[in-house]
Subunit: 137 residues, 4 copies
Amino acid sequence: MAFRTKARVRFGDVDRAGIAYYPRIFDFFHVAFEEFWDRFMGVSYAKVVTEEHLGFPLIDAKAQFRAPLRYGDELTVSVSLKRIGGSSATWGYSIDSPRGERCCDAELTTVCVDMRTWAKRTIPDVYRRKFEACRPE
Amino acid sequence: MAFRTKARVRFGDVDRAGIAYYPRIFDFFHVAFEEFWDRFMGVSYAKVVTEEHLGFPLIDAKAQFRAPLRYGDELTVSVSLKRIGGSSATWGYSIDSPRGERCCDAELTTVCVDMRTWAKRTIPDVYRRKFEACRPE
Amino acid sequence: MAFRTKARVRFGDVDRAGIAYYPRIFDFFHVAFEEFWDRFMGVSYAKVVTEEHLGFPLIDAKAQFRAPLRYGDELTVSVSLKRIGGSSATWGYSIDSPRGERCCDAELTTVCVDMRTWAKRTIPDVYRRKFEACRPE
Amino acid sequence: MAFRTKARVRFGDVDRAGIAYYPRIFDFFHVAFEEFWDRFMGVSYAKVVTEEHLGFPLIDAKAQFRAPLRYGDELTVSVSLKRIGGSSATWGYSIDSPRGERCCDAELTTVCVDMRTWAKRTIPDVYRRKFEACRPE
């Protein structure tokens, strides 16, 4: 099943119309990805990056913004695997508002690299198997 | 012709690998859009937003990240109109590094709204004509 | 007693040395202030700002940075009232790392204003009494 | 004499009252510090950090916020050396609005460190002499 986490739209996230400045929405996605590592994968992304020298930089992004994220909203952010290759993985993200609206859908493709050299790497099997368990409903 | 501006990858933009954290790349796009208003449209986006109550929030984003933006890089960001409808406009963005690499291509679709009510509006003719003059080479 | 909350040092918070970029530390303080409203004051800061038109902008800041906040750290952020005047309030903040270090101490002075006019306002009694209950140990 | 540079208050810098979110003001200071290296010191801070492994993290900050920075404002940010020790340096910063107001004054103390080990270092003489030439009027 998909991984779900909460995020809050903070004072510093909103622009003068009181809605989230859109680059911050990609920040919500990244924070959700870090929480996915902590709580679904069972290892912190900080440890993966720092000790295993693995990184998952973004190579492709597609996003639709359907409704504004308002100041103070407690959002539900969901993450799931859509497709996986040797070193790339495509993740589906969505954000729902506390009013039950679908605010945002996104498809973000990452590639697994060695953080020291930036060279592409095969996704280690132990992570691949867990990624594959995080599927959309 | 396209609008071109410069941006600099700052200390606070990079992550621990020394490359720009990707949500900041969308911030570079927005700053380029604000400079496009100042220098190509001849009116500041702040004035458009504050005095004319017009806004151009994002409804769709597609981006490909081809090469990292490194700390200290002076980037060339280009903006041009790709398609225009009654209230929506699709913009092409690209970012080139000082090493002559194409780092990023994006297609961002905005919709014209009244910032007070968030209602969709027809793009005013005076702006539409100028948008149409900002075409890719 | 002081209000305490947790914060996490995220990928986008750190610079290339793997420690939090210092302007982000002030962001941790503001998020802690928002959580203080939610959980200690019993009303969301979003509601105070949006419905009561009250704001508490910063007029003075003093901070000492004693030890770096590292990527992945789960921080303890504490907030307490140090002094209060008619419209101003001085807050003590501290940040402790999971290694038991005191990373940061700060003293931030806010002034109560009407968010529509930016005019100074007396802190409403109901809030003053609660502020006064949030004291350092 | 002091070093002066320009900064622009961007859409993503402002909160819902249309003024700069205060942690972003510290970001303006850091960007001004990076421009000080480029244009006054004659070497990019990126190069100092990346090739010489020198960093100047903040250990103490004092700031007064006197008037809001409004969306669209072109700010004048000034930087000058106030005091210098063996490894520490205290910098004076100010921000003036296009309306001629002094918006912000700050005093920020940095310590020179080796970015690889985080150990304190003596400020190299070549930099010390140039720092000393950047004095308040």
